[in-house]
């Protein structure tokens, strides 16, 4: 694997790049070797500090190597330049303020977004040799399994025993459980984890020990650092204590360190889990994590796993469907980091790119300001030349000035980033891993330092080169009124570049806004307004619940109490709520599959009861809603969605047809009593409806009671305000029960599009900044041109030119420049907005109306920015203008 080559920190590459080409590779090798040695022994902080010292060490060594005699005086000269620059900038406070603020905003934006990107995407995972960790999942193209899915117990056993390319492999399952200790009870995210998960990750506990193979299944638990801190006050005596998780006593054997949160930071505890002795194959959904053997790579591993998986049916048996899935099965491997970061990577890179564009626009603005300023100081430059200053002196003096501005902008930028990072973290979707730990660390500061240098070069180089030119010598005697052609060209070119960059951002944010609106227009099949939802986890045995009828009676009684709350219109419950928990997946048997021996179709399945369909506003298309039924019946009724009806009984009337989940026993038939409209379970982007069956609260026998912790849905115009009343009610009925997942359906719907709305919002802010900076830049250029041409305008006016004609000329001049920028920007946007494609919905990346609208907006802003200077020009009094010279 080429991990060694790709994992070199930017700073070390920079250090090598500063060296002559012929020694770069060898020095980089040395630096990487030293860095790797530090990785094993030193803290993250000291390593980061060390890497950023390297480019500086190289620079110092190179300076040292130069002729000593030359170095000292030039250092002294730079310090003189610094003093001069500081003084002259202080004399032009408006210029300095505008330039520094512009750069500060851009640098601050970049620093803040880079900090997030660094924490979430770039920092290596806090495990031993994280680049050897792989996530192992599966795909089975051509089968009816999802595109990608978690594996199962038999895969784990097979891989662990036989895959030579794996040094170790572990598994985990995520879930939510009621955790009780002393008087405290809460519903918390926990993870079921094999003991081998910890050894695979290469982590150690800070207290106690990790589970081992000798520990009995599910009897021991390892606490997260936060649970240990918040619930047990970091009491070391917690080891050996018994706490209750998932209604069973578990012995605490260990506590993990504060940085360990797997698979995410909110996990409260890891329950030790072993695969059962008798594996029933096909229980998919297990997440496997493997550690590659030292000499193996993902390609070798994929080959081995493929081969091992194909032998699963012969070892573990299983159904015909299972054998078919295994036949199609291919392992899906990706680095663990990629798996944990997931699909947030694309939006974050887009944001960083956006910030980069804002920086370019800001640099163009400052370059323009510096050009104008240099133009004003031509005479002074010419004087300095004539007094013996070399071209290098003038160049250096101007670059030092640009550097001072950029450095001040950098300081301001860091302040903006310090304030902005918490805002960014709060505004981002909550599911982004590691986001909360974003801080301004040395690496981010190093990044800031490099963009300060970049900004100084990008904004200072063009003016400095222009105004250190030997051709300047003749200008001392010239009149210097209108500025030279090439300067005007340079300044217009900058405005063109700015407008192009701003248009790219405007088009990007326009596309995202339209996607957002389109997603909000999607009809999920249920109402999201005025619906409140929550879950609770009572200790059922305390309420006399022992079987399905008593459970149903408990739920009905509770729902009656809920319905009696003021303004509540209807109340229902479901095992898994759309947008929150989705629904389970099962195969179903129908008379047709029995008759044809065909594949049992895969459908989503949930349980529902009470007035669930009415409360959610799910329309009944055929037949009737659930019956209220607390007793098991011979012939329990179920409701199916329209697409499920079409899948299971194509071309037939579904009402009265029977089916059963394939894992239920063969007498558990359900009869279809109603057909309802399709609903969106998880993803608003999904255009194909998912077949869904709703099973009743009580099945056909007393033992079937799957709904232990359902989600209740309450329809009420006061949905958003129901929380406290419901808490009171639960406290009264089941004081021991934690209440959790309290939310309105509209909040869940907003969460479902959070990734898009976050990107949209930040890109929108960036586009807003871009257009303001662009307008300021254009205004600056035109104002300057007008002030330079006052004399010429005066003559024209004196010769009878009319004011409106003059205004038109100047506005046209500004607009022409911007239109050129808009044209280039449109081309750029067509290329760059492809990066947004994964976020777009209902709108193509190249969408003419958006382009036209944003181009129009850009031109309108250009008209406005040119009109103000034009009006000033036409107000010139010819006599004053002519006398002024």
């Amino acid at each position: 694997m080429s991990a060694g080559r790709s994992r070199v920190p930017l700073s070390l590459r920079l250090a090598a790049w500063l060296l002559p080409r012929d020694v770069r590779e060898e020095v980089l090798g040395d630096l990487v070797e030293a860095w790797n040695a530090k990785e094993r022994s030193e803290s993250w902080f000291s390593r980061a500090a060390w890497t950023w010292k390297q480019p500086i060490a190289v620079l110092l060594a190179r300076v040292q190597a130069r002729n000593d005699a030359r170095v000292l005086p030039s250092v002294a000269r730079v310090s003189v330049d610094l003093r001069i620059a500081a003084r002259s900038l202080a004399r032009a406070p408006t210029f300095t303020l505008v330039a520094v603020t512009t750069l500060a905003i851009a640098i601050g934006t970049n620093t803040a977004i880079f900090s997030v990107v660094e924490t979430v995407l770039l920092d290596p995972l806090d495990f031993t040799e994280p680049d050897r960790l792989v996530s192992i999942r599966g795909t089975a193209p051509g089968s009816d399994m999802p595109d990608e899915f978690g594996l199962a117990a038999e895969f784990y056993v097979q891989y662990r025993e036989n895959a030579a390319a794996l040094e170790d492999v572990g598994y985990y399952l995520e879930g939510e459980q009621t955790v009780r200790a002393d008087d405290r009870v809460e519903r918390l995210p926990v993870s079921l984890a094999s003991h081998s998960l910890f050894s695979t990750l290469g982590v150690r506990p800070v207290l106690g020990r990790l589970p081992t193979e000798q520990d009995e299944d599910a009897q021991v638990v390892v606490l997260s650092h936060w649970l240990w801190t918040e619930w047990f006050g970091r009491d070391p005596e917690v080891i050996g204590r018994t706490i209750e998780i998932a209604s069973g006593p578990r012995t605490v054997v260990g506590v993990m360190g504060p940085s360990f949160g797997f698979p995410h930071e909110r996990v409260a505890a890891w329950l030790h889990d072993l695969p059962s002795e008798e594996i029933r194959p096909g229980g998919f959904g297990w997440e496997l994590v493997g550690r590659l053997a030292p000499d193996a790579d993902q390609v070798v591993l994929a080959g081995q796993l493929d081969e091992l998986a194909s032998r699963l049916p012969e070892r573990f048996g299983g159904s015909v469907e299972y054998a078919r899935i295994i036949e199609q099965h291919r392992p899906v491997l990706r680095s663990l980091e990629e798996e944990l970061v997931g699909d947030i990577a694309a939006p974050l890179w887009i944001l960083l790119g956006t910030a980069g564009i804002v920086l370019l626009i800001a640099c163009a603005n400052v370059a323009n300001l510096l050009l104008a300023r240099a133009e004003d100081r031509r005479r002074s430059f010419a004087v300095r030349r004539s007094l013996g200053a070399t071209r290098g002196d003038l160049l250096r003096a101007q670059m030092v000035e640009a550097l001072v501005i950029a450095a001040a902008g950098g300081v301001g930028g860091v302040a903006i980033a310090v304030g902005g990072i918490p805002l960014l973290v709060r505004g981002a979707p909550e599911s982004i891993p590691r986001l909360a730990s974003t801080t301004l660390d040395p690496t981010a500061l190093g990044f800031t330092a490099s963009i300060v240098l970049f900004a100084a070069l990008a904004s200072g180089l063009l003016p400095a080169l222009r105004f250190s030119n030997p051709a300047l010598d003749g200008t001392l005697s010239s009149r210097l009124q209108t500025g030279t052609r090439s300067t005007r060209f340079a300044r217009h070119a900058l405005v063109v570049a700015q407008s192009a960059a701003a248009l790219v951002l405007l088009v990007g944010s326009g596309l995202l806004v339209q996607s957002f609106l389109a997603l909000n227009r999607v009809d999920p099949g249920y109402e999201t307004e005025d619906v409140f939802t929550f879950q609770m986890a009572p200790v059922l045995r305390d309420h006399g619940v022992t079987d399905a009828p008593s459970l149903a009676r408990f739920h009905y009684a509770f729902m009656e109490r809920l319905a009696a709350l003021p303004d509540v219109e209807s109340v229902g419950l479901t095992l898994m709520l759309p947008l929150d928990e989705g629904a389970e997946v099962t195969r179903v048997v129908t008379d047709r599959t029995i008759a044809t021996g065909g594949l049992e179709p895969l459908v989503r399945v949930t349980h529902a009861g009470g007035q669930y369909l009415r409360a959610m506003g799910i329309e009944v298309l055929l037949g009737s809603d659930f019956e209220r039924n607390a007793d098991p019946t011979e012939n329990p009724q179920a409701v199916v969605s329209q697409s499920a009806a079409e899948l299971l009984w194509p071309g037939e009337t579904p009402l009265g047809k029977r089916f059963r989940p394939s894992d239920a026993d063969s007498s558990s038939w359900l009869t279809v009593s109603g057909v309802v409209e399709d609903v969106i379970l998880e993803d608003f982007r999904r255009t194909e409806p998912e077949p869904l069956v709703y099973l009743p609260l009580v099945g056909h026998d007393r033992a079937s009671w799957p709904i232990t912790t359902p989600a209740y849905v309450v329809k009420s115009p006061r949905a958003a305000a129901l929380g406290p009343e419901i808490r009171d009610l639960v406290r009264e009925i089941a004081p021991e029960a934690p209440v959790y997942h309290m939310s309105t359906m509209s909040a869940l719907a907003a969460r479902a599009v959070a990734r898009l709305s976050f990107t949209m919002l930040t890109l929108g802010v960036a586009a807003g900044l871009a257009i303001v900076l662009g307008a300021v830049g254009l205004y600056g250029v035109l104002s300057y041109v007008v002030s330079q041409r006052t004399h010429e305008i005066g003559i024209r006016m004196a010769l009878g030119a009319n004011a409106s004609g003059l205004r038109r000329t100047i506005v046209a001049q500004g607009t022409r420049v911007v239109i050129l920028g808009v044209m280039l920007g449109a081309v750029g946007a067509a290329v760059l907005t492809r990066a947004l494609e994964s976020l777009l919905f209902g709108v193509p990346a190249v969408h003419m109306p958006t382009y036209a609208m944003m181009a129009g907006l850009m031109i309108a802003v250009a008209l406005l920015a040119s009109y103000l200077p034009a009006r000033r020009a036409s107000a010139v009094d010819p006599m004053t203008a002519l006398r002024a010279d």
Binding site: V23, L28, D30, K53
Partner: protein, 110 residues
């Protein structure tokens, strides 16, 4: 190029190399200097010093085999040309000791 004396870092690097048996590469030499003197020296700095000394005929160098730990990049080993280096070291040691002559009591007092 004939040399009369070493710069301070040059002297330390050459001594470091000799302490490591007369042949080594930048990473161990930098580590040795850090261990012995407490001075944090970058391997890149050490490499550049050795590169310069080699160009002056004081060291010879050869390229080692690429190493996966370094992302497949080769190591350059430098060897001290004792015949050229030892006189320079002797001279710098002599000069330093001569300067110290009579000043040791100052140290004792501080």
């Amino acid at each position: 190029m004939a040399r009369e004396r070493f710069g301070e870092l040059e002297e330390q690097v050459v001594l470091g190399l000799l302490r490591l048996g007369g042949e080594s590469y930048a990473v161990p030499v930098a580590a040795e200097l850090t261990d012995v003197t407490g001075r944090d020296v970058s391997p890149a700095t050490v490499y550049m010093v050795m590169h310069r000394l080699a160009s002056q005929g004081l060291l010879t160098s050869r390229v080692g085999t690429p190493d996966p730990e370094r992302g497949g990049r080769p190591r350059r080993f430098y060897r001290v040309v004792r015949r050229a280096v030892l006189p320079l070291l002797a001279e710098s040691r002599r000069a330093r000791l001569a300067l110290w002559d009579g000043l040791e009591p100052e140290l004792d007092r501080s």
